[in-house]
Structure formats: C-alpha cells, structure tokens
C-alpha cells in the first residue's frame, strides 16, 4: 500500500478520490441495469405475466443483452437538429444524477465528501438535471420532443419547490445540512419510531410523490407520454444516446430512493436496537422505495397535465408551508418535553 502511495506522490489524493468515485459509480450503473430488469419482472407479476425469462437463467442476463443491443444501434441525428447540443443533452442529463452521490453517506464514515452544506449541494445539483431534458427537446428540432421538454421543465421546476420545503423541515429536525449528521440525529433508543418519517409523515409522503414527479415516472410521466406525444423529449434519440437518458432516469430514481432513506428513514440505522446498524439497512430501505416507484407505475393511470400542476402548486406547497410552521412551533414550544413529543423534539 505504502509503495503505491509513494509511486503517485503528490497526485495520490487525486488518484484515491478517483478510485472512490469508481467504487461508487460502477455498482450504481450495475444497479441501474438490474433495476430495469426488476421493473419488468415486478410489473410483469403485477399484470399476471412472467416478464423476461429467456436470456440467461431466469432472464438474469436480459439487461446485458439490452445494453449490447443499444450499443450496436446507430445514433441518428435528425435533419435540422443542433448537432452539438443534441449530443451534449444526454451528458447533461446523467451528470447530475451521478454527481449528487458525492455527498451521500453509506455508513457512519462511508462518504466520498463529508460536506457541511451537503443538503444544499444535493438540492443544487439535482436542480441542474432538467437541462438535459430541455436541451434534448429543443435540439432535436421535433415538435413532439419540444412539447415533452416544455412539459417536463414546468413539472420539474414546480415539484422542486415542494421537495425543497420538505427538506427544510428535515434540516430543522436535525439542526444540520450535513447528511451524515442528519442520519445521526435520527439515532435513538426507539429505533424506527425515532426516524424523521414519524414527526414529518406528511413531508415524507410529499417527498416520495414529488420524487416520482421529479424523475418523470408514471403516473407523472407526461414528459414522455407515449400515448400523446410518442416518447416526449427523447423521441429522436436512438442507440447509446437514448440509453444514456434511460440510465439517467433510473440513476435519478435510485438517488431519490437513497435520499428518502437518509432523510426520513434513518439511512444505515437499524430499525430495532438489538440488531446492529449496517449499510445493508440503507440498501433495504432503498429497495423498498424503489419498489414503491415500480408499484406506482403498475397501479395508477397517468395524471392529466393540469391536475399535476394543481397537485404541485395548490396542494403540496401550501401543505409543506403549514408543516414548516408546525415543526417550528413544536421545536420551540414549552410542551415539547411532554412524554411522547420529547422522542423527536429534544434539545
């Protein structure tokens, strides 16, 4: 080990950080690939089919076959498209989905960058993701793609506000913007009852629903809307360029699942005190939230566009503002030391 450090000399911190990034990103991309298989299987069983089962044992090699197929396909650039932006848009879509993982803690000391303003960083980086969609829609020089981009931009900007306010209540509860500290603040003798989802239950629900809308997933998938605008913003994309959008969508889903687990469900903390904390708990919680996303898609019909906007602006944002005041009052009021309330509102 020392020999390797000496070999790189002053460049070692850089090499070490790059190694850590690879250790996070590679399993993430693997998870994305197998999330697509999980989605097809889960929805298959929900619709009383068996889903893909031909490639490899029980269909387990299906994502790899899909990846090879997409790699082999030609990337068609439409006439009149803005070539540079057309190619650049998928990059802009996937970059924030991967960059946000820098501050996500997997365990007490397992984090790439232990930043004090971690929550702000997450909010800023995820808000950049919309550019990929908007630029893809515009650069394609296609009406359907443009309509999809406009719908998506309006939707993402609207739900970001509700999501942001939900996260503000989380930071009030934990007195910190650091994600590791946010998890630590949920630690206590009562296990899963101590986590933020109990005192912030409405915010928890709003966060999951807004997360579904942010990632353009069904039932909020009007940006793609197969039955209305063919495939929305990525209708002109083929081959690997399309695959990158696909990767970005699923990487964003996994990111939202990780954030929900960390903010509201205690991250790596164990739900009961007699089982030790472990990174496996974080993965289990993420799997649960991801399953919810797949379940939503199999269950709900697509929202009408004006109803999406109404839900975001007229229901979620006022609700988050009310809960902001409720949490503030509970944190400052003298009755916060009463028996049940003092589980969450101590100190």
């Amino acid at each position: 080990m020392q020999a390797v450090i000496d070999f790189f000399g002053p460049l070692w911190p850089l090499v070490w950080t790059l190694l850590k990034i690879v250790v996070i990103v590679l399993p993430l991309l693997g998870a994305v690939a197998y999330l697509t298989l999980a989605e097809r299987k889960v929805i298959g069983y929900m619709q009383i089919r068996i889903g893909p089962n031909r490639v490899g044992p029980k269909g387990l090699l299906q994502p790899i076959a899909d990846a090879i197929k997409l790699l082999m396909k030609e990337i068609v650039v439409p006439t009149g498209a803005n070539k540079f932006l057309f190619v650049f848009a998928p990059v802009l879509a996937i970059m924030p989905a991967l960059a946000a993982w820098a501050v996500v803690p997997f365990g007490p000391d397992m984090v790439l960058a232990n930043v004090n303003a971690g929550l702000l960083y997450i909010m800023a980086i995820t808000s950049v993701g919309v550019y990929g969609v908007v630029i893809a829609g515009w650069a394609s020089n296609s009406k359907y793609a443009f309509l999809g981009a406009l719908r998506s931009a309006a939707q993402i900007v609207s739900y970001e506000i509700a999501m942001g306010f939900a996260l503000v209540t989380v930071l009030m509860m934990s007195h910190s913007l650091n994600l590791t500290d946010i998890v630590r603040a949920q630690e206590g003798p009562y296990g899963l009852l101590q986590w933020n989802w109990v005192p912030l239950l409405p915010m928890f629900i709003i966060y999951i629903i807004s997360g579904t809308a942010e990632t353009n997933r069904a039932p909020f998938d009007v940006a793609e809307g197969e039955s209305e605008i063919v495939a929305g913003f990525h209708v002109e994309y083929s081959g690997m360029a399309f695959a990158i959008f696909f990767l970005a969508e699923y990487a964003n889903m996994i990111l939202i699942a990780a954030l929900t687990s960390i903010m509201f469900m205690g991250g790596w903390l164990s739900p009961v005190s007699f089982i030790p904390n472990s990174i496996l708990w974080l993965f289990a919680k993420m799997a649960f939230v991801l399953f919810l996303f797949l379940w939503f898609r199999a269950t709900f019909p697509r929202y009408r566009y004006d109803q999406i906007m109404r839900l975001g602006w007229k229901v979620f944002i006022p609700l988050t503002l009310v809960w902001l005041v409720v949490v503030g009052v509970l944190m400052q009021a003298p009755f916060r030391s009463l028996p049940v309330l003092n589980i969450w509102f101590h100190g």
Partner: protein
Amino acid sequence: MTSAVMLFTVFAVILVISALGVITARNPVHAALFLVLSFFTGSALWMMLEAEFLAITLVLVYVGAVMVLFLFVVMMLNIDLDRLREGFWKHLPLGAGVALLMVVEMILVVSSKQFATMTSVSNTTGVSNTQELGLLLYNQYVYPFELAAAMLLLAIVAAIALTHRRRKDSRYVDPAFQVSVKASQRIKIIKMPAEKDL
C-alpha cells in the same frame, strides 16, 4: 503559481469567454446556455472564497430555476435575427459611448483603495459559513431581512396581479366539483323494450 491561483485563472478565463458568448452568440438559446455556464463558473469562484452558501444558492436559484424558465421562454419565441440586427449601425455610436463610460467607471472603482487587498475574509469561528450567515441574518439583521422578504413577496403578488387575465371563454371546471363525481353521474342506463321480430 499556487494551485489556487491556477484554478482561479482557469475559472476566470472560462467566465470571461462564456460572458462574451452571452452577448456574441447569434442564437438566443445559445446565449442563454452561455449565461448558465457563466453562473456556474461564478459559483466556482465563490466556492474558492469559502462562500459555499452563496455559491450553492447561485446554482440552486439562478441555474436551477430562473434560467430554466428563461430558456423556456427563449425557446418558444420566434426570433427573427435580421430584424434584430436592423438598426445596428444607427445605434452603434450611442452604444459605444455608454460602453466607454462604463469601462471608465469600472476602472475607477477597481483601482480605488478598497480593492487594493485581495484576501478573502477567512472563517475563523469554526462553524460553517452557512450557519454563520444564518445566525447573522436571523439575529442581528432580522428586521431588514424580513422587510426585504415582504417586499419581494409584494413584488411577486403585484406582478401576477398585473399580468393575470382570466379568459372569459375558457371552460374551467372546479377540481373539487370534478373529484366529487359519482358513478351514477357518469353513466346513464336507459331501458329499452326489445324490438318485436317481424
């Protein structure tokens, strides 16, 4: 050259180039995207000054929300470049005069004594920049801060009130009325006697 100076040079060059791109790009969408890039590099420069709250807020507010809406509008405008360039030579003298005045003003400001030292205010208190800013805003400057917030809210309400027009011919249905619909209102079963066979 220390690494901080090197980084600053890189960001500053990108910032100047992208700022030039904003005013020289022929396509308004490209100009808006250049503006996004300059916000990003500006935020990186603030980050180097240990002002992480300002840096991240710049990205969150301007890049994540304001510029998206800006791009949204610019993309939908049907801009005729020839018409925009029509009066270029006619207005050039006036524009050049204003530009010259501004350059002189900026030189005067930057060469004054206040700009002589280039060290950033270092954070010695041990708490994070964000926390320190919050403590100042909500303790020492709470009244000016709340006043500014109230004025911004007023401006938003005023802007919406001035531009909002409800169309008389729009077929608006109250959502509360929509969701309270019952199955019996959606379907009407009509009994018809079976036709006699001839």
